[in-house]
Amino acid sequence: MSTPILELRDVEAGYGPFRALFGVSLEVGHGEAVALVGANGAGKTTLARAASGLLTPTAGTVLVDGAEVGRGGPSAWRFVRAGVVHAPEGRSVLASLTVEENLALSFHRAFGRSGLAGALERAYELFPRLGERRTQVAGTLSGGEQRMLSLGRVLVESPRLLIADELSLGLAPMVVDQVFETLSQIRGAGTALLIVEQQVGHALELCDRAAVLEHGLITWQGPTSEAGAVLESRLFETATTELK
């Protein structure tokens, strides 16, 4: 097997004295789509942050194409240059810049000065709402519009690996369907995916593989076809232990 695009080896990470991940190992191959599922507070977001360089692991390594990215200190931009793009959860936009400036910041790097206009066009095609509001300051967009903006930024770019955290949160069902359609399109174009999603059904449909995260540990990995059953039994287990 060729070297995976992203590999986490025994990664431990946390916040100050608090540890959220306890030795997590995970691989995402070229063009592969992996769904990361787990309860609230299991550490999914933390894993996504560690995988994109936002958070520096306290132990273990994160490899992109089999090599470490940068040395020491948070260097998320190096991950981006290596083709690993992260759409963080929540309202992750630069609130004081306009919609267009938010997009331009990413697109200028990805497509250069000449490709900028085309990329903006595509983003507005994908989310016409954004096109209507291109000169509005991003901080004053509605919650869903802000999600669209941060998704528009990464979806148009079709990076080599897209890490998306809670991507459908706050979006209308129609828009969610559309987002998943776009995801499967860019997948077809060769983008690998690592997806954190509460709407597990949607995510499993899209992905080949699933990983279950519990209390900072990966407790199960396997093809999505088996994941449904596993998840059900696990949910059942936790429910019964809680009853006791």
Binding site: G14, Y15, G16, P17, F18, R49, S52, G53, L54, L55, P74, S75, A76, W77, R78, V80, R81, V85, H86, P88, G90, R91, S92, V93, L94, A95, S96, L97, E101, A104, L105, S106, H108, R109, A110, G139, R153
Partner: protein
């Protein structure tokens, strides 16, 4: 002239950077005889960006996610430390009373009069031309280039910017180099306007710069530049025409004399207080702030009981021994220094109240002190009033001023509060002090603002010893008041507010009342301390004791040593008065080594290192808001506690 908000830091160190470049230019051109262009290149285009890069790399890079207030404190620390560091490193001494030459030949001597109203000299024209060009250049940079966009993005959220694939480190390094270059350029250009080259002059630059940025924060960046230019014009026109008009209309004269020097501060204060939007504006927050761990909780005060007992005993012994030594052995000089230390502790307690308890940065504590001092002077001078009663009146007057000031200002909060109080301090400095009913007017220039020592019934505090006792009594009383305040309702309210204003408001705690009380109490303490200090020196000595820049240093000292506790304030007072003679001049070491001759050759160390040291210590504010010494003590006591507990456990196991 103008500032450029490129780094998201309210860079009060701007003045320091300007000073360094101006001093470098002066040194290279006037002392070493370099040609002007070479001196300019070295000072503004080599030294200044380098300085910016160094500051960014060593300090501000690590502060990107720190709160705006801690950045402010650090910038204040820097503006205290940097000029002195430069003076020491470059063996430069402040120049006064000498025409500083500008960048154009014969700048001050050749005049042009394009509009027939005012004769500009060449220096001024050069300054305006460069300022205009620089503004246009920067506006273009921010509007039309990617790096400009990236700089704005980094200010808001370095992490989001990184996720767009742009290195936040490089961008902010660039921004710092750029802004530092402009600061340096501004410094070199404006130096000819002052007849001296001392750091304080350049600090007033900052106030104007901040006013421009205040306008800019509300509107767009290009408009900030316009705002700066407009402000500069407005001030310049005022300065030029008022004197002339008042030649014809005598009724304008008092207005002119008092308003002109303070105009920038009045404008700034007015903008801050009147422009409602500033108060409402919340800082745009980083959407990815969740990546950071929560700030370290202040270590709970859970000491081992034995340890508490021990530290208390030690404290009592230490104070007794020092007290006895001072009482019986100290000569006049040391008596004087110790009294100063005690009085400064009283003044610093006012900082403890406003900064430590209320979490607000006030930069006009010196002004409150001065109000106390002047009150004593006026009452004693005019009405022959009892000095102690006058001191109390001074405290009340300061409290009143503080309360009135706090009404418009407190609404601002955070950084703006600090800047508004700074503007007020400068306003007091430039205008109020000159009035005869405040600073004594022209008679004070001749005779000084004399203040007698108090007389209470049969006790005459004219002797230094008796006065020291009085000062100690006041310190104890004020300490008790502060502790009562901290443990009472007001103190708890303030602590809750420090945590989260919104949360506190939602459970029905009113911010306004507690803060006004804190402000007034703090002002009263400062006023009382100021009155004592004036009595001690038997002179108000306004500019030496209470000038606006002094208040900056006070804040730095207290913050460095511990702003949360009474202990911290007392240590601050001791450090302020005794650090220089004891440590820097090597007295303590000499005493330990038994004899001055054993001292290593580098003693005595120049006194200005004190500024450098405390300025650098204040830099730790972001990480240890409780103060560095306090932090060290807590760590040590935690370690000893743990050791004691472990021993007890072992004993229990044996038994």
């Amino acid at each position: 002239m103008l500032t450029y908000k490129t780094s998201g830091v309210f860079n009060l160190a701007f003045g320091a950077q300007a000073y360094i470049s101006a001093a470098m230019y002066f040194k290279a051109h006037s002392l070493w005889g370099w040609p002007k262009w070479a001196a300019l290149v070295v000072s503004a285009f080599v030294l200044a960006p380098l300085l910016g890069l160094v500051l960014e790399r060593l300090i501000f890079r690590h502060l990107r996610t720190a709160s705006a207030v801690s950045k402010l404190v650090i910038a204040i620390g820097l503006s205290v430390a940097l000029p002195e560091l430069f003076n020491q490193a470059a063996r430069f001494t402040a120049v006064a009373g000498r025409q500083i030459s500008g960048i154009v030949p014969d700048g001050a001597g050749v005049f042009y009069d394009p509009f027939g109203v005012y004769r500009f000299n060449r220096d001024e024209l050069a300054m305006m031309a460069v300022a205009l060009a620089a503004s246009l250049l920067l506006a273009a940079l921010f509007r039309f280039t990617m790096i400009g966009l990236a700089m704005r993005a980094v200010v808001e959220s370095p992490r989001m910017t990184e996720l767009s694939g742009i290195s936040a480190d490089r961008t902010s390094a660039f921004a710092w180099a750029l802004s530092s270059t402009f600061a340096g350029l501004a410094g070199v250009l404006i130096a000819p306007r002052f007849n001296s080259l001392i750091p304080t002059e350049f600090f007033t630059l900052v106030v104007i710069a901040v006013a421009a940025a205040a306008v800019g924060k509300l509107v767009s960046l290009p408009r900030a530049l316009l705002g700066g230019l407009g402000l500069g014009w407005f001030i310049a026109v005022f300065n030029t025409f008022l004197p002339r008009w008042s030649g014809d209309h005598t009724w304008l004269r008092p207005l002119q004399e008092n308003l002109t020097p303070s105009l920038p501060f009045v404008v700034l204060f007015g903008i801050l207080v009147l422009w409602r939007a500033i108060g409402r504006q919340t800082e745009a927050s980083d959407p990815l702030a969740g990546v950071d761990p929560p700030p370290p909780a202040l270590a709970a005060h859970q000491r081992h009981p034995k340890l508490t007992l021990f530290t208390r005993l030690f404290g009592v012994c230490f104070v007794t021994v020092v007290g006895l030594v001072v009482w019986f052995r100290a000569d006049v000089l040391w008596m004087h220094l110790v009294t100063t230390a005690v009085i400064m502790s009283v003044i610093y307690l006012s900082v403890t109240v406003i900064t430590g308890m209320a979490g607000q940065i006030s930069l006009c504590q010196g002004t409150f002190g001065a109000i106390g001092g002047f009150m004593v002077f006026q009452m004693a001078d005019r009405f022959d009033m009892s000095v102690l009663a006058a001191a109390l009146m001074g405290a009340v007057a300061a409290a009143a001023v503080g309360a009135v000031l706090s009404l418009p200002v407190l609404r601002l909060g955070g950084v703006w509060l600090a800047i508004a109080t700074l503007a007020f301090a400068f306003f007091f400095d430039a205008v109020m002090v000159k009035f005869s009913w405040v600073g004594g007017g022209s008679t004070a220039l001749l005779t000084g603002t004399r203040v007698p020592r108090p007389l209470l019934g049969p006790i005459d505090f004219a002797s230094d010893r008796a006065f020291l006792v009085l000062a100690v009594i006041v310190l104890v009383v004020v300490s008790v008041v502060v502790i009562q305040l901290r443990d009472g309702t007001i103190g708890r309210t303030l602590a809750a507010l420090r945590g989260s204003e919104v949360a506190a408001a939602s459970i029905g705690i009113s911010a306004a009342r507690a803060r006004i009380v804190a402000f007034a109490v703090s002002a009263a303490i400062a006023g009382l301390g100021g009155a004592l200090l004036s009595m001690h020196h038997q002179n108000v000595n306004y500019s030496v004791n209470f000038g606006p820049i002094n208040a900056l240093f006070w804040l730095v000292v207290v913050v460095a040593l511990g702003a949360r506790t009474v202990e911290g304030a007392i240590q601050g007072g001791a450090a302020f008065a005794l650090f220089e003679p004891l440590i820097l001049q090597g007295e303590l070491l000499a005493w330990i080594l038994r004899g001055e001759d054993h001292l290593p050759g580098f003693f005595p160390i120049a006194g200005s290192w004190r500024l450098v040291l405390f300025g650098l210590m204040a830099m730790q504010f972001a990480r240890h808001p409780e103060g560095l010494v306090e932090y060290g003590k807590r760590r040590a006591s935690a370690r000893i506690s743990r050791w004691l507990e472990a021993r007890e456990e072992r004993q229990a196991a044996v038994a």
